[in-house]
């Protein structure tokens, strides 16, 4: 069973402070619940280095199809924080923390990510 392959390691927590993610392109509050953070372990299904925001697709169930689509900052902003176009790739197992989409939308905005080899990066 796929869900046994990878486990969800943390639940949703409420945070008091808004993320410092650089979302110059749009306001986050109209899309995401900035009062919540969710941390899960998941398999990367896609990682697209693009504008206006780098996109990270993940599968908490360990599959190859994107079940949650997460956004990061724009390429220059996250490069300043140590990200590159090769930070992760499809198939990597990562632990990612994000603000979830409003109204149950299967989207989110990344707060931080821990790569398979333990490197922690903030978005």
């Amino acid at each position: 069973m796929r869900s046994n392959v990878l486990s969800i390691v943390a639940a949703t927590v409420v945070v008091l402070l808004a993320s410092t993610s650089a979302l110059a392109h749009h306001g986050a509050a109209s899309i995401y619940d900035m009062s919540k953070e969710t941390t899960i372990k998941a398999t990367v299904t896609e990682y697209v280095w693009t504008n206006p925001h780098v996109e990270l697709g993940i599968s908490p169930s360990g599959g190859t199809t994107t079940e949650l689509l997460l956004e990061l900052g724009s390429p220059p902003n996250i490069r300043n924080r140590g990200w590159t176009s090769r930070t992760v790739k499809a198939g990597d197992v990562v632990t990612v923390t994000f603000h979830p989409g409003l109204r149950g939308a299967k989207i989110g905005v990344v707060v931080k990510l821990i790569t398979a080899d333990g490197k922690e990066l903030h978005a």
Partner: protein, 248 residues
């Protein structure tokens, strides 16, 4: 052979004599102006234009701003934004482009100063020591001329298209926008003191100060923004159907 040896010996003797008699090299002439060249960055969340209620908007400009739907901040409506830089992928214009938390470079030469922005790879040129064109073509980044006043580069610019927003809140202007910028260093930082003058949009001139820090990492990352990128993002994250065919 003998002639060659004599020539070499003579050359060596002259060189030695010259070395003995040489005076210290003249010190290089002091730079007439500070060098503002370098990579600069505005830290996220620092500075910016004043609150809207502190800007002396004309009634017409106030109504226009109120009707706009910015993608962030107060009155945000990302899904239905009227922001021309998102709706049409228009260039930001000036000074909005300088408010991203991204780098720009200043390249200073004897007759021009170039400002190169990381965002969208846009740039403007500031012609030095030439008169302002009284009737320039209207452009995204205006017609800028500059001159030095001591350690300050004073830039005068006009000729801006009125379709741009002055910032991401939807602050409007007309084609009569006139900016005077005083660009100078304060410590290690670069400061732009900007005076905004536009009788159609503002009841009186007003000022803003934008401060930039040195960016030790001068690498400019490509971040060219297209309408296809925007529509793709909206399709994926907002489930908005693209209004035109997009790149797949």
């Amino acid at each position: 052979m003998i002639r060659r040896l004599i020539a070499l010996a003579t050359a060596a003797a002259l060189t030695a004599a010259a070395a003995g008699c040489s005076k210290p090299a003249a010190a290089p002439a002091a730079a007439a102006h500070p060098d503002l060249s370098g990579s600069w960055v505005r830290p996220l969340g620092e500075g910016g234009l004043p609150p809207a209620n502190k800007i002396p908007l004309t009634p017409r400009a106030a109504a226009k701003m109120k009707a706009e739907r910015p993608a962030a901040g107060e009155n945000q409506d990302f899904a239905n934004t009227t922001d021309p830089s998102l709706k049409y992928a228009d260039p930001n214009g000036y000074p909005r482009i300088s408010m991203h938390p991204m780098r720009f470079k200043l390249i200073q030469t004897n007759d021009y100063v170039y400002q190169l922005w990381e965002y969208n790879q846009n740039w403007r040129q500031i012609a030095l020591n030439v008169p302002q064109d009284p009737d320039p073509a209207l452009t995204w980044y205006g017609n800028a001329v500059g001159k030095w006043e001591g350690d300050t580069l004073v830039v005068d610019s006009i000729g801006y298209k009125d379709s741009t927003w002055l910032d991401s809140r939807g602050l409007p202007h007309t084609q009569d926008l006139h900016l005077v910028e005083r660009i100078h260093k304060v410590g290690e930082n670069l400061v732009f003191d900007i005076t905004f003058e536009d009788p159609g949009a503002f009841t009186k001139p007003w000022t803003a100060q934008l401060t930039y820090r040195p960016s030790p990492d001068g690498t400019m990352t490509e971040t060219i923004y297209t309408i296809s990128d925007e529509l793709r993002f909206r399709e994926r994250f907002l489930q908005q159907k693209p209004t035109i065919p997009i790149r797949r």
